[in-house]
Amino acid sequence: MSNETKQILTTDGIPLEISLKKAERKNKIKAFLLVAPLLLFLIITYIFPIGEMFTRSIDDKMITNMLPKTFKSMETWDGKELPSEEVFASFLSDFKILVDKKEHGKLAQRLNKEKNGFNTITKKLFRQVKRDKIDETQSIKEQIMKVHKRWRNVEYWQAIKRTAPPYTSAKYLKAMDMYLNEDNKITQVSEDRRIHRILWLRTVEVAFFVTVFCFLMGYPIAHLLATLPMKYSNLLMICVLLPFWTSLLVRTASWMILLQQQGVVNDFFVIIGLVSDDNRPEMMYNKVGTYVAMTQILLPFMVLPLYSVMKTISPSLMRAGKSLGGTPFIAFWKVYFPLTIPGIGAGCLLVFILAIGYYITPALVGGASGTLISNQIAYHMKTTLDWSFASAMGLMLLGGVLVIYWLYNKLVGVDNIKLG
């Protein structure tokens, strides 16, 4: 068909279609080249490391690399009775290499995490190996079993076998207060040790209520700002923008001063007779402090998107609603409120996502009962140095945020986010 109709040619004799495509591609490449530096920079310094967090969080290669022969010979072992002579022999040869490299301590430590009691028996075996007490012409199995009675216990060998896979979900389970037991079943840790689940719940709870408080406080003032004449609203806008631009630590510090036991808020309560002077309530280092401070700090993030949406709603709509017989309340509820939903969505999303990852304020005013999951992540990054566990928790948090973001995008659309 197209061969019959005469092709339109450009002046240099190339068909127009091809020439256009070429120009289009050139433009595409040009646009992409402009974005490329930042994109590359972010992928290398940011996106990749987040991926690395994932590999780190499931990585369990340490023992896999330490006992290669043992795991090879264990492949045929059914795991019910004591393993064969061959397994013992390869374990000994792996162990000797580790002793040469002085890495047997690390092995003991890691195995001890899997099952208590490995530290002692590895040390005993180490002494035997060091003194060359083990005669390789005799049965190695018999000799190792004589070192300590636990080496005769099949449970310890099962524990070694469990560490064989190079990847583990243990860190993720640990973050949910669960672990894999001897039979490879997911089990809950005993009740008094379930700390992480409480933290997750508290994080969601705090983020949710802070969002609700911010909405309840932000909606009226955004409405006021949007309806007042410019000269007043500009002045009041400073009340929103000054905290917004002020350092987070400054605002947290001011809440620490206000909320302390001898602080201004308590003074005020005493003056108006709400509490007696010698019975001042503790408002800091608990959840109250976290709630109050976080609400004030995140409030501007609720007000600004709400304001920018409300500003575009014409006041004549409300008047029309009223003139058609609605009371002011009905006019508000049926006309004004639905129009502000994009702003509500953007504000709530912003506040919730910021609140769920909050770290500084809870750490300073939260005390023990007000800390959130981020504080736990930081604790494992800086204090226990269990980076893989911190990565696992971080990624779970990130997963949660992405789900919320995706939901929001489905419901409202991300394009509605505005800054200031």
Partner: protein, 284 residues
């Protein structure tokens, strides 16, 4: 917000109730900042209003904490302030350059995979800071940049670019692309066109993005806490340590200075916003 004369009583009551609520919220927002001012001039070491201050006794006020901030022995604030400014300035420059160039590409209608690329570029803003901190720390540790200024500057460029990208793409959305074509048809090369035509027009957006990036860097503490050594301490890190150990009035003096700084930034941001609104108004 004067009410019309015919307003019924119940709506009148509701209106005053609403105004009262708004007043309380505004006080809640702004009052905490003002507590810091008087206490930073406290002559005593405690962080409560002393009797003298309540009676406005001039002896109860002093500048001793400001002196301590500037001249105090083994005081970290000088170094911290120097570091903070150096890091923030370089991070802002980096974010503005990378972000503006990327925004130019992004707002071209030829840009392929716009959605996913935009999502990647602004992801540092969406991902909770603590996770960004962990990820960036892993990278910097591997690259040997932990506990260096360069490392912190790079980290802050990561965190600052989304703001520049967003503000500049927003400015460019109202940008009339025929002016660049006009420039090209008059024989100007692309770089010249950008410097002489595009940049002056989008400058308000670029600067306000830069302000965001500056404040982000200047105020950032989570990532710096992971990255910084003793040599790279910044004002927020120093405040964080101070607040954790003991609330000293010197911190309040520093906080007061920071509030003054943020007021200045607020004023310039507002002026810019108005200017850019005016410009956009003309374009339409």
């Amino acid at each position: 917000m004067a009410l019309p004369k015919y307003t019924e009583t119940r709506y009148r009551i509701w209106h005053y109730f609403y105004i009262t609520i708004c007043t309380f919220v505004f006080i809640f927002l702004i009052a905490p900042l003002f507590v810091i001012f008087p206490l930073s001039f406290n002559a005593e070491e405690f962080l409560v209003f002393s009797e003298g201050m309540k009676n406005l006794d001039p002896d109860a006020f002093s500048l001793r904490w400001y002196k301590d901030m500037v001249y105090g022995t083994k005081n970290p604030w000088g170094l911290a302030a120097k570091n903070s400014f150096i890091i923030a300035i370089f991070a802002t420059l980096g974010s503005v350059i990378l972000g503006t160039v990327a925004a130019l590409g992004l707002s071209s209608r030829h840009m392929p995979f716009k959605g996913i690329i935009m999502a990647t570029l602004i992801s540092p803003m969406i991902v909770p800071l603590i996770i960004s901190g962990v990820a960036i720390f892993f990278f910097m540790a591997k690259a040997g940049l932990a506990a260096t200024h360069t490392g912190i500057v790079l980290a802050h460029i990561i965190l600052g670019t989304p703001f520049v990208v967003i503000t500049v793409t927003a400015t460019l959305s109202g940008f009339d692309h025929s002016v660049t074509r006009a420039a090209a048809s008059l024989g100007s090369n692309p770089v010249n066109t950008f410097m002489k035509v595009t940049l002056p027009l989008i400058l308000p957006g670029v600067i306000s993005g830069g302000l965001f990036a500056f404040v982000t860097s200047f105020d950032e503490v989570v990532v710096v806490l992971f990255l910084a050594g003793l040599e790279n301490t910044t004002i927020p890190v120093q405040m964080w340590t101070g607040l954790r150990e003991q609330l000293s009035p010197t911190i309040l003096a520093v906080a007061t200075c920071l509030i003054v700084l943020s007021t200045l930034i607020l004023i310039s941001a507002e002026l810019l916003r108005r200017r850019s609104e005016r410009l956009r108004g003309i374009n339409r």
